[in-house]
Amino acid sequence: MTLDNIKTLEPAQLRQEMEGLKAKGFDFLSNLIGMDWGKEGGLGVVYCVENTNTHEQQWLKTATADREQPVLPTVSDLWDIANIYEREAYDFYGIIFAGHPDMRRIFLREDWVGYPMRKDDKPEENNPLRMDNEPLADDTTEYSVAADGTVTTKKNTIFGPDDYVVNIGPQHPSTHGVLHFRVALEGEIIRKIDPVLGYIHRGVEKLNESYTYPQTLALTDRLDYLAAMQSRHALCMCIEKAMGIEVSERVQVVRTILDELQRIDSHILFFSCLCQDMGATTAFLYGFRDREKILDIFEETCGGRLIINYNTIGGLMADIHPNFQKRVKEFIPYMRKNIKEYHAIFTGNVIFQNRSKGIGPLTKEQAISFGCTGGTGRATGWANDVRKNHPYAAYDKVDFNQVLRENGDSFDRYMIRLDEILESLNIIEQLIDNIPEGNYKEKTKPIIKVPEGTYYQAVESSRGEFGVFLESKGDKSPYRLHYRSTGLPLVAAMDTACRGFKIADFVTIGGTMDYIVPDIDR
């Protein structure tokens, strides 16, 4: 999608405009992207808000020319997720959001020097490897702008001296990677959660700015490795649309099938890990047993099990393997049978039911405000499926249901995923016999240059809306390539979901939220 209608606002107008949009039903802030437009353009932010009823999107941008102390107004009181997104923009670009209650770095160490995503910053020179323990402050700064333009600061407390703070992570079995939660406990009950991110922040977005377009593709697989197909699909689609490449029907269908296989793969892993977290180790192995079947399909056609590396600009790396259809057709009934086993051993189990029903509920409003897309959002009744709302690839040709549930608790989040496996199997079944003939790859120039402009493409990845925001200046490298993380909103919502529940519920809630850390940190 080419974004030619981005509305440019002066920082002073921003609040008013945003409040107006929020009142008009634009209640989902899907993107908040920090930008550095150089000396002339200044530092700024691109916003994307979406109306959850009409699925209409509105893009806006604002900028300030002050590079020493860039200050923009906050929108964190309008959308909960803006809290985290603005911290990200602060961390990478040094943009201060006046009125934001918690202006701390989020990905980088608190003693990091400079703002790495600024075009003129030299992060490696200023930051040698620090082997001392990371300082973690217990209080934070709030900035506000007085009427005469002076910036004042105020201290806010995160954890007081009486809080019993337990560090869950960065190396902890139930955080699914290197995620760090500082949890204030009262006995076994959780009082507050403060996520500390960035333990796997690899600077993918910065790397992209120096890579050629084909090279950028290689990194998408490594963001959310359980949505490798879909992430790469999104980036390929974004570049293809920007360059006006039409891929064949065949490619569309194959991509759709593989996306759905990837979704099943991810959801099986979700099931397995949840079982593992809750102590049902055996069910964990059943999940992995079935997942291997999908990995075999992937490996035979694409050459990789996890990092699949299959989509490419203009099509696919290679045509599907002759065995592909046969294997997929064998897999569909096999998986349908085994889902029943999952239900027998785990879903129905009274211990699991008691540990998940009513645990960590999110309301629909909360889910939208936090931007929790994917299964977590749909468990609250929020119909946010990108495949339905903004169809792409072959999704408008197939018939499938958007699985929705009402309660938004851990059990619903879990059931959504298992039901989506069945739904994905349906989609695959409809397509697998009808793969049209056609080229598996369109011819592209050896050096790919995307015409100047701003583009956005979202796909429904395994755990929500994955978006690719591309700003090109017509070079062979992107000027800015931003990925909308599917997991970041989920982590942001953890505090809301966990408060008042027990430390054992934290594991359940974290498990059912289903976040993947490398995707959060990018």
Partner: protein, 359 residues
Amino acid sequence: MFDFTKVTNWIDALLLSFLPGWAATLVECVLVALVIITLYAVFAIILIYMERKICAFFQCRLGPNRVGKWGSIQVLADVLKMLTKEIIDMKNVDRLLHKMAPFLVIVASMLTFACLPWNKGAGVIDFNIGIFFFLAAGSIGVVGILLAGWSSNNKYALIGAMRSGAQIISYEVSIGLVMLTMIVLTGTMSFSEICQQQADLGWNIFRGHIPAALAFIVYLIAGNAECNRGPFDMPEAESELTAGYHVEYSGMHFGFYYLAEYLNLFICAGIASTIFLGGWAPLHIWGLDGFNHVMDYIPGAVWMVGKTFFVVFLLMWIRWTFPRLRIDQLLALEWKYLMPLSLVLLVVMALCVSLGLTF
């Protein structure tokens, strides 16, 4: 049925023939201690191997099979490694308590292990209040766990230990009540007499029929919880507390906890088979004299170990199937379901016995 007292009397007589009375007793004590420790180690190794194999089979995989035939000496390798692994000395811990805690656990476990009647006449600790002693000795273990959690100066360990304290003390109530139920049936607290009675009259689980069978189930649940094993492994709850109370222990100190966990499982199963399944008493079916005669040829120790391993298998099956409970659910299960049930069972059993409704 072979009476093991013949062997012990013969050894006693042999020693007395050339030693004064006190020295003979001393030598006997040392001998018995050696036998117990060896048995303890051997059973621990067998159990760990068994658990790893059984768990693998439940999970459609093979389990250890590269060290020795079918991986049979895998656990020996683990023990060797553990023995030669560093024991880390830590700052900021309560040294004395930290070092003492694993020994408390292992001592408690060995004391209870010694209570098991292996064969007719082969019970090490056997006196008229054997069950009482068993319960008392068993609860030393929880002190070890609490101390481990407290002295480690680690928040996870502390939470784990506190959970463990709450859990074990709660389930002790059920275990006590269930045992009381069976004492009402047997009229004795001595393990050897309980077994002898069952050899003569039939297994308690049949004699006490419905209340005894229910008591058996309650015992299995509560016993499993006492051992801190899944689905009641809250104190260690890997996914929440990394390793719970023993998170700071390394080398053989951790090894003690590891061994004690498996041996406690064995002891729990052993007591279940002693009290409910007849201990060393062979299976007799009324009216089938030929069958009973054949059964009598199988030695008592085989019966005892066989029954125990059967119960161990049941517990492992449960462990590898269910997810873990949450601490409040665990306590609710005890106080809302098991404790009332065992109280009812106690009353029902007393009624049955006084009305002569038992076999």
